[in-house]
């Protein structure tokens, strides 16, 4: 198997681990330059595999002399929009949007002679300056990439890379000299709270599970990450799967569990593969199995796959899924830490929560709790996407403001349209208007404003986003993902969807908004699980901050953002049209007429409002209102 190395024998003690680590580090010293090509799913969509092959081909030609070069295919660092990403270490020179044609030049110029290639460097849009090093790029500079920085350094398919950056050292420390109760105290003292959205204190959760009666206990890593717009967990599990295993090992030791599961959603095939491979490697190395590092502690992990159901991110539905049943949640009157998988005490934590554990053990709870705010400690990874210039994963200390994230790191609006709101917390969250962008981001402040921090999805919306359409989108999403067990969620979401459809089609009247609010409140009150209970949030927060937009749709039959198709019309401005005919060719419905070099026009009865004409028009002559 790839990445196993020649000396893949079982590590039976802490000192053997140390010996292995020294061997690996010694071998690394022989390498003078490392070329890191990002292999995450995002960069793959941009063709990074071809770039890697190109590097392999050039390097195999053997023309580079006197330099030992290592080519690494790393995990996702989060700046997907600029992919393919190539970093040259040890200098940390950062190239973006690398093409296959650029590869020979990178080798001859940068690797060989240390010269930079301008057109591959990131350009600061405000200063119009080219930036050489990753850490100077505004997107990275304001971040505190405690977790994500590791993705840049390792090939996730090689356990040796993980060992080289002190991987499994925290486990060694724990197994050799710390008692389970002490670890729980340490995690409690760190203030770590669940990163999946609910923010329950992790140390307390572990303690509750440990104290629950019964000898058989389970721990689970939740990588169902269903919130649309969020991909932090994908990046962590894809890019550094061993760190998750290490966290789970420490947790299992503290709680007294012998079996763990990593639940990976079906839509993340690469994360699943990398997790499986890491488990196999860890078993071979002796980090999973019996008598780990000679301590007498046994633990093993299996992966469990999702089947395309958002509800399986909910802990009781996830457990049902692992048990081979449909993902139907059950009442949480008895928590999973008392009765979970197969009715046994089960501790479920999110991927990012597990990833923080080895870090806390390594650097101590005092260090960790010095980052962040009083009630929200440590860093949080956000997925900053939508109508913002720099999109990608952002790891920042808790307490940073929305404004800093969206403008300083995100670079502000894309396409020149003013930013109107940011949606946080996924379908359980809500929209926060631009006027509140000075709010700090932590577990409590956003909840007070009517949204929540959630798992980290942050979707930026501008004037071209219709807030009614956003509410409609989330309701339809939840309606499709509802398991269907309980009446309020199943029927209520359907009816809320009908009402919102009606509003976006101009069919509202004086009773519409009150009915919507009444229904939303009952769905929140009477639903069985979190999906139904939080389903009304996008609607209620939309009504709270953007009521005028809703009223425009209902009473004036207008969509100010020009999104809701029944309420808008496409037309071509006579003054801007050059008669080039590109729109006519692009139109799938033959809805555009006009002679060459003369103004074109759109036939409204045929227009499907697909936007192809606007996409190809070079003079912005297509108008939407």
């Amino acid at each position: 198997m790839e990445g196993m190395g020649e000396n893949m024998r079982k590590i039976k003690s802490v000192s053997q681990l140390e010996g292995w680590r020294e061997q690996i580090l010694a071998r690394l010293k022989e390498s003078e330059t490392t070329i890191s090509v990002c292999g995450g799913t995002g960069c793959q969509a941009y063709g990074c595999q071809k770039v890697k092959k190109a590097f392999q081909k050039e390097l195999s030609k053997g023309k580079i002399n006197n330099k030992k070069i290592t080519l690494k295919y790393t995990g996702c660092p989060g700046f997907c929009e600029r992919g393919p990403l190539v970093t040259i270490l040890p200098d940390n020179i950062f190239y973006q949007r690398v093409k296959v044609e650029d590869v020979p030049q990178i080798l001859s110029e940068t690797v060989h002679h240390g010269r930079k290639i301008d057109h591959l460097l990131f350009e600061d849009p405000d200063l119009h300056k080219k930036i050489l090093f990753a850490q100077d790029i505004p997107f990275y500079r304001a971040q505190k990439r405690l977790l994500l920085s590791k993705n840049d350094l390792i090939d996730p398919t090689r356990i040796e890379d993980y060992i080289a950056i002190d991987g499994y050292q925290s486990l060694a420390k724990v197994l050799s000299r710390i008692q389970p109760e002490e670890i729980i105290e340490e995690i409690k003292a760190s203030g770590l709270r669940g990163r999946g959205g609910a923010g329950y204190p992790t140390g307390k959760k572990w303690e509750n599970c440990k104290q629950a009666p019964g000898d058989t206990k389970y721990i689970i890593c939740n990588c169902d990450e269903g919130d649309p717009g969020a991909f932090m967990d994908r990046s962590l599990l894809e890019g550094n799967p061993h760190s998750i295993l290490e966290g789970m090992l420490i947790g299992a030791y503290a709680i007294g569990a012998k079996q763990g599961f990593i639940y990976v959603r079906q839509e993340y095939p690469l994360a699943y593969q990398n997790a499986e491979r890491a488990i196999t490697q860890a078993r071979r190395a002796g980090f999973l199995g019996k008598n780990i590092l000679g301590s007498g502690f046994d633990f093993d992990v299996d992966t469990a796959r999702g089947g395309g159901a958002f509800i399986c991110g909910e802990s009781t539905a996830l457990i049902a899924s692992i048990e081979g049943r449909v993902g139907e949640p059950r009442s949480k009157q008895v928590h999973t830490v008392s009765q979970g998988l197969w009715e046994k005490p089960t501790n479920i934590n999110n991927v990012e929560t597990w990833a923080n554990v080895p870090l806390i053990v390594e650097k101590g709870s005092q260090w960790f709790s010095s980052i962040g705010t009083e009630k929200s400690k440590g860093t949080k990874i956000f997925s900053l996407v939508g109508k913002v210039k720099n999109t990608g994963l952002v790891e920042v200390p808790m307490g940073i403001t929305l404004r800093e994230i969206i403008f300083d790191i995100g670079g502000g609006p894309q396409n020149g349209k003013a930013i109107k709101a940011v949606q946080t917390g996924g379908p359980s969250g809500g929209c926060i208007p631009a006027s509140l962008f000075d709010l700090p981001v932590d577990y409590d402040s956003l909840t007070r404003a009517g949204s929540m921090m959630g798992s980290g999805g942050m979707i930026v919306m501008d004037e071209g986003t219709c807030m009614v359409d956003v509410a409609k989108y989330f309701v339809h999403f939840l309606k499709e993902e509802s398991c269907g067990k309980c009446l309020p969620c199943r029927e209520g979401l359907k009816r809320m969807g009908e009402i919102l459809d009606g509003i976006t089609e101009g069919k509202g009247n004086g009773e519409t908004l009150p009915l919507l609010e009444e229904l939303a409140n009952v769905v929140a009150d009477a639903s069985l699980c979190g999906l139904g209970k939080s389903a009304p949030n996008p609607i209620l927060s939309g009504l709270k901050y953007f009521r005028p937009e809703f009223e425009d749709h209902v009473y004036r039959k207008r969509c100010p953002a020009a999104v809701c198709t029944p309420l808008i019309q496409y037309s071509i401005s006579g003054t801007d049209c050059t008669g080039c005919g590109a729109c006519k060719k692009a139109c799938p419905a033959q809805a555009i007429e006009g002679e060459r070099k003369q103004s074109h026009w759109i036939l409204p009865e045929l227009c499907t409002k697909c936007g192809s004409c606007r996409d190809v028009c070079k003079t912005q002559a297509v108008r939407v209102q």
Binding site: A45, P228, E267, D302, V326
Partner: protein, 161 residues
């Protein structure tokens, strides 16, 4: 039908009930859908009641009880892709192929799926064609790629750059 692959898949996972969904994924990869006989075999070996396994096969959207098309087209309908007007792509593809998500075209060429977030949000709107990811899509580009398949050009290698 040849059920030997099913048995070897079950064995690979040790016949564990916790591996049911993993097993069903592998069975589906083998037969391009979940045939009734295969499901009955899995139910028997894992000691699951038939209504329960039928419930699982119909609950999870990744499973299909009917054979899928030659090409698989998945459109992402996550929030980020939606905000970047991904819905226009879906509308256009639905119109062009004349099918709803979850269905396959009459000639068996293309199966259309919609997924609520593929996790590559930064490069949205995202489309996956036969396992390959494409970012920054729009209705025009998507329609062109679909038409290439329908016009008989052998599916497979679609490059972005």
């Amino acid at each position: 039908m040849n059920l030997r692959p099913v048995n070897s898949i079950i064995e690979r996972y040790g016949g564990k009930r916790t591996a049911l969904i993993n097993i069903l994924h592998d069975v589906q990869d083998q037969y391009s859908h979940l045939p009734k006989e295969a499901l009955k075999t899995v139910a028997q070996k894992l000691r699951i009641d038939l209504p329960d396994i039928y419930g699982v096969a119909t609950f999870y959207k990744s499973f299909s009880l009917i054979p899928k098309g030659k090409h698989s087209l998945t459109l992402c309908h996550g929030t980020a892709c939606h905000v970047r007007e991904g819905v226009k792509i879906l509308r256009e593809i639905k119109r062009r192929l004349n099918i709803e998500p979850g269905q396959t075209t009459g000639d068996g060429q293309i199966s259309l799926n919609v997924v609520n977030c593929l996790g590559v949000c930064a490069i949205g709107p995202v489309m996956v064609l036969d396992g390959k990811f494409y970012g920054e899509m729009n209705a025009l580009k998507a329609r062109k790629m679909v038409e290439k398949i329908l016009n008989g050009r052998d599916g497979g290698k679609y490059e972005k750059n």
